[in-house]
């Protein structure tokens, strides 16, 4: 049986590993709710992580790095928007292309700028996001259970973690309580109706893709500046696709996205902490734990456990009637 300290440790690493997924999942949510499929989350995160790592290494500022990461991600988002909104291209193919572009360009530029085989130089203090200690964390630590929960689990994360969690209610508010959110959701379900109401479908979709770019930028920046100390070759390691899986798991809803990404973060944390898990006589291999998010997503997609219905106009370019 695992003790309380181990549990706190695992939950703590769940939060850290779940945060990039959360950012990317919310990013995908905005894009797909507006009817633009985005399998390029991975590429955007990778580009952002690279630029964040590179700029933070040169300037020594984590926040400048984050800005650069968001910028890089926005460029990719713009290409995706250009291909899938303006030129009505295939959104899936555009996403695939952008993933490869990020994977190749990060190494090409990384090698050219730093000559470290694609890595960026390891960051020293200031270039990384420091842990933030919440008020009274030290004072409350001796209290059993609650004290540990507060000081070890809630406190002591980097700024981006708290921003990530704040993004959940913010996204929910933006999507369900504002005029823009209503229009954005409508564009994903029935763009013709939005067009008839005299609102630009193109404009709303570009806005959604841009929000997606910003959030992916934060996801990538957190990977390079929060979770690790610098950019490493292919450091997203499929997280963009896990975020995509989480998005389906969450049925394209912000609060569910929090649950889904934390669940997948938890799976990764458990897999890291216990490479082999013994349940009775069966030992579960670590590879199974790694594959579990994908397996769960396929099960959800198959509709055996709760049906996940994507936005109706997803993936279809909008053609104004002539």
């Amino acid at each position: 049986m695992i003790d309380f300290a181990t549990l706190i440790e695992i939950l703590d690493s769940t939060v850290r590993l779940g945060t990039p997924l959360l950012f990317a999942c919310l990013a995908g949510l905005f894009s797909e709710r507006a009817g633009i499929f985005d399998i390029g989350l991975e590429g955007k995160m990778l580009a952002a992580a690279f630029l964040a790592g590179a700029v933070a290494a040169v300037t020594g500022s984590a926040w400048l790095g984050t800005l650069a990461g968001i910028g890089g991600s926005l460029i990719f988002a713009a290409i995706h928007g250009f291909a899938s909104i303006t030129f009505r291209g295939n959104q899936l193919i555009s996403g695939v292309a952008l993933n490869f572009l990020a994977s190749g360009m990060t190494i090409l530029l990384g090698q050219y700028w730093f000559g470290l085989g694609g890595r960026t130089p390891a960051l020293i203090a200031g270039g990384r996001f420091e842990a933030i200690t919440l008020p009274f964390a030290d004072a409350l630590a001796p209290i059993p259970v609650i004290g540990r929960l507060y000081s070890d689990l809630l406190s002591g994360h980097s700024a981006l973690v708290y921003i990530g969690f704040a993004c959940v209610p913010a996204s929910a508010f933006l999507l369900y309580r504002t005029r823009f959110g209503l229009r954005l959701r409508a564009v994903g379900e029935n763009p013709a109706a939005v067009d008839t109401a005299g609102i630009s479908v193109t404009g709303i979709r570009y806005a959604a893709v841009a929000i997606c770019g910003v959030l992916c930028g934060l996801a990538g920046a957190y990977l390079a500046l929060g979770l690790a100390a610098g950019f490493g070759k292919e450091m997203t390691a499929g997280r963009g696709f896990i975020a995509l899986a989480a998005l389906i798991f969450a049925k394209w809803r912000p609060w569910y996205a929090l649950g889904a990404t934390m669940l997948f973060g938890f799976l990764e944390a458990v897999g890291n902490r216990f490479p082999k898990i013994e349940i009775g006589f069966i030992s579960v291999p670590s590879q199974f734990m790694q594959a579990l998010p994908y397996i769960l997503t396929v099960v959800i997609l198959a509709g055996f456990v709760g049906k996940a219905t994507p936005p109706r106009a997803g993936g279809e370019p909008y053609v104004k009637e002539r």
Binding site: S84, F87, A97, L101, G104, Q287, Y294, V298, L301, A302
Partner: protein, 364 residues
């Protein structure tokens, strides 16, 4: 957009897209401080300047023919199979099972078994996403992506825990028996008296890939099933109205596609490595997407595009060897080709169509 004549649609548009992709790649090379012209020269001599280079080019091209055909069959039926990577990985498992556990007396028998098993395993891995798409409406792109990851976890598990011979450290299966070495291209060409370098992995799988291309062509344009596949891809509604069963067509398209992806493994696993390695696919499943887009989903185009990508692959490896340009340049070129021939197709097409319209008006 019906203003384009057919030849412009099939040749001019992809060629211009390719040209744009290459020009941009040249700019990328320039941006990282190398000379694009010198780089191109190095790539051409490295990949096509000797029979050694040709051997590697054709070896890579063989992989891309299989995966490109796989993607294009699915494309023709209106399905986007991104799962080539996982299907090819499972195909490798099929080859390993066929070659490791049966003492074949001759390579030809082993090859037949390996073809069968690789296609079977690849098709089986495509069958689940296909079934879920056909019966439950789960988006095939997402499920095939998920299956890529599941396949890689499965292969790691099998290679590390089960198939790895006792006492070895690297995660790979045991070596196949020497009897099962496939004839290399230089063996085959020596039969007709053509000298060919013998230090490259090009092998008989190339001929199988070419046969597969012919097979796909016959299937798609000269059989009833092929007609149904294409009709389904053009318009699902119309084909269902014409009495075509959508579940059956989706299953067939994906089984053929998965089988073709899986067959790639006879080239890499049986033809080259002679054992199942951890990452034997090396992204060829994804390059299949670029190849299918570039080849306009036609077997003939796919073969040409596969050779082009084989050249890029081998040329890129040579470039990485002699200059500071990393191998990943190929990934960038591949991305640009996919972007321009796939997603930004309309951007290239619109001005060309406008130009043709202008010419036509001027003539009348």
């Amino acid at each position: 957009m019906t203003t384009l004549p057919k030849w412009a649609d099939t040749f001019l548009v992809p060629l211009i897209s390719l040209l744009i992709a290459f020009v941009l790649s040249g700019l990328v090379i320039l941006a990282i401080g190398e000379n694009p012209v010198a780089a191109m020269k190095l790539m051409v001599t490295g990949a096509l300047g000797s029979t050694y280079g040709w051997g590697y080019t054709l070896y890579y091209a063989t992989n891309f023919m299989f995966t490109g055909l796989a993607v294009s069959v699915a494309f023709q039926a209106g399905l986007f199979n991104i799962g080539g990577e996982g299907q090819a990985g499972l195909g490798g498992l099929g080859v390993a099972v066929a070659c490791l556990y049966v003492p074949w007396p001759h390579w030809s028998l082993a090859l037949i078994a390996a073809i069968f098993m690789s296609a079977l395993f690849g098709a089986a891995w495509a069958a689940i996403p296909a079934y879920l798409q056909a019966k439950r409406g789960s988006h095939i792109v997402i499920t095939t992506i998920m299956f890529n990851f599941i396949a890689s976890a499965l292969l790691v598990y099998l290679l590390v825990n089960i198939m790895r011979p006792v006492g070895t450290m690297d995660s790979a299966s045991a070596r196949f028996d020497a009897v099962m070495r496939l004839p290399r291209l230089h063996d085959i060409l020596a039969l007709v008296g053509i000298p060919f370098n013998n230090r490259n992995p090009a092998n008989i799988s190339l001929l199988i890939a070419l046969l597969a291309a012919v097979g796909v062509w016959v299937l798609m344009w000269h059989t009833r099933l092929g007609f149904e596949l294409r009709a389904f891809g053009k318009s699902e509604k119309a084909s269902v109205y014409a009495g075509i069963n959508p579940v059956r067509i989706t299953m067939y398209a994906m089984l053929i596609s998965g089988g073709l992806s899986g067959m790639m493994a006879i080239n890499t696993v049986m033809g080259e490595a002679q054992r199942l390695l951890l990452n034997s696919v090396e992204g060829a499943g994804f390059i299949g997407i670029a190849v299918a887009l570039m080849g306009r989903s036609h077997p003939f185009g796919v073969v040409l595009a596969a050779v082009l990508f084989g050249f890029l692959y081998q040329g890129g490896a040579e470039l990485a060897l002699w200059t500071t340009v990393p191998r990943e340049l190929i990934t960038v070129i591949q991305a640009l080709v996919i972007l321009f021939t796939g997603a930004l197709d309309d951007m290239v097409r619109r001005p060309i169509a406008a130009l043709f319209l202008l010419f036509r008006k001027a003539r009348t």
